[in-house]
């Protein structure tokens, strides 16, 4: 039986501010091994006051480079999130999917564009 484990961000970082990639990484290191083992995780944003993209990139975004998106959808749920933070996370996830899919092509295109000198 795969019982869902609730992981409260506030309890892990000890602050209502998810405003650094460093703290996001700490959260990632807690949840990623569980997901890799196929455990269901509910990530709770209870008591979190401010969340930024860099925090979510590290905590959640990088999981999309480790597991297929369908598997993440199956195992990871999010709760106690404001609509604003939910919207931010949607952008982070969309960005992560692009990042892991197209990064090299994307950078190559820019390399040609960034030709001007200073």
């Amino acid at each position: 039986m795969n019982e869902e484990i609730t992981v409260r961000i506030y309890d892990i970082i000890g602050s209502p501010l998810g405003v650094s990639a460093e703290d996001g990484q700490v959260v990632h290191e807690k949840i990623a091994p569980l997901l890799r083992d196929g455990r269901k995780v509910a990530l709770s944003f209870e008591k979190m006051e401010t969340i930024i993209s860099a925090f979510l990139n590290a905590a959640v975004g990088q999981i999309y480079g480790e597991l297929p998106a369908e598997r993440i959808d199956e195992l990871l749920s999010l709760k106690d999130m404001t609509s604003e933070d939910q919207k931010l996370l949607e952008r982070v996830v969309a960005n992560a999917l692009l990042y892991f899919k197209n990064r090299k092509n994307f950078d190559r295109a820019w390399k040609e564009e960034l030709g001007d000198e200073e």
Binding site: L17, S20, A54, A58
Partner: protein, 288 residues
């Protein structure tokens, strides 16, 4: 040496003049540097942040800095925001409480930065923003602070200060670092030392573009900033090395400055009367 500082406003010319001060003093070591304000008729309070970043670099080379011939008006503004406290001037009470004081915050001290925002964005005469607007604004400021932490390599930390204009319903907040600038990060990433500062800023503003290497995606912070200020009808200015970016009234301009600002400055001008809720969907709740 004596350096005559002209009028400094929150404009491209203002950033150029401060960059020029950096350029004229970069070769000095263990000297006395007198920054002469006698030709400075006006100094926008928030520009104390980039000036602080430049003066930190000068004093780091064991130079002694003095600020001289300040008009009463400029002295009053820069005493009220506590910028002049490090230069032997007395602190002045901010009677109207419209100042977000000058402070230097080490990159590792995100808690100190949070405390600064908590104390100075809320109340203290800063025009009343809705709770949601204030929260959204605070989030964007943290994005910029985190960008400095990740990319600036600024040994001197981040310099912050601001000023509110209650009658205009605007609030200006400026963050400056004395780091390597956006250009250097982008040049390293593309292994191309000819990329211009303006082109580097343009690249950094595109969602998903990041110089971070490794397993972690990034590159959303500046894009989110632009989206927010577009809705808010505010203004963003970024000056980094020789590049200058302005976003205002939905229009963005990239240009090259006449001098090299050693680091990055981000200046926000928020419309505090913005009635939008910044609530993107109607239902709060979970993903599943």
């Amino acid at each position: 040496m004596k350096y005559s500082l002209p009028t400094i406003l929150s404009t491209k010319e203002g950033f150029e003049c401060l960059a020029s001060l950096a350029g004229h003093t970069e070769h000095l070591f263990a000297r006395r540097v007198s920054v002469d304000f006698s030709s400075c008729e006006f100094f926008d309070a928030n520009m104390a942040a980039p000036l602080g970043a430049i003066l930190a670099r000068i004093t780091d080379r064991l130079n002694e800095v003095e600020l001289i011939s300040l008009s009463k008006g400029i002295q009053s503004v820069l005493c009220q925001n506590q910028f002049l406290a490090s230069y032997g001037y007395p602190a002045l009470d901010d009677g109207e409480q419209t100042t977000l004081p000058f402070q230097r915050i080490p990159l590792a001290e995100k808690g100190l930065f949070a405390e600064y925002l908590g104390r100075h964005l809320q109340g203290k005469g800063v025009p009343k923003m809705s709770e949601r607007l204030e929260r959204a604004f605070q989030q964007k400021i943290f994005e910029v602070f985190q960008n400095a932490v990740t990319h600036s390599e600024s040994r001197f930390g981040v310099f912050v200060c601001g000023q509110s204009f209650p009658t205009k319903k605007r609030l200006e907040l400026t963050l400056a670092d004395a780091g390597i600038g956006i250009r250097e990060n982008v040049r390293r990433f593309f292994q191309n030392d000819k990329i211009s500062s303006a082109a580097a800023i343009r690249w950094a503003l595109v969602g998903g573009n990041t110089t971070k290497q490794g397993k972690e995606p990034g590159g959303l912070g500046l894009k989110l900033l632009k989206d927010f200020f577009s809705l808010n009808e505010g203004k963003i200015q970024i000056a980094s090395r020789m590049g200058c970016y302005v976003f205002e009234n939905g229009k963005e301009t990239f240009s090259t400055m006449s001098a090299d600002f050693p680091g990055t400055v981000v200046n926000f001008e928020i419309n505090t009367s913005d009635p939008r809720s910044y609530r993107f969907t109607s239902e709060p709740g979970a993903k599943n």
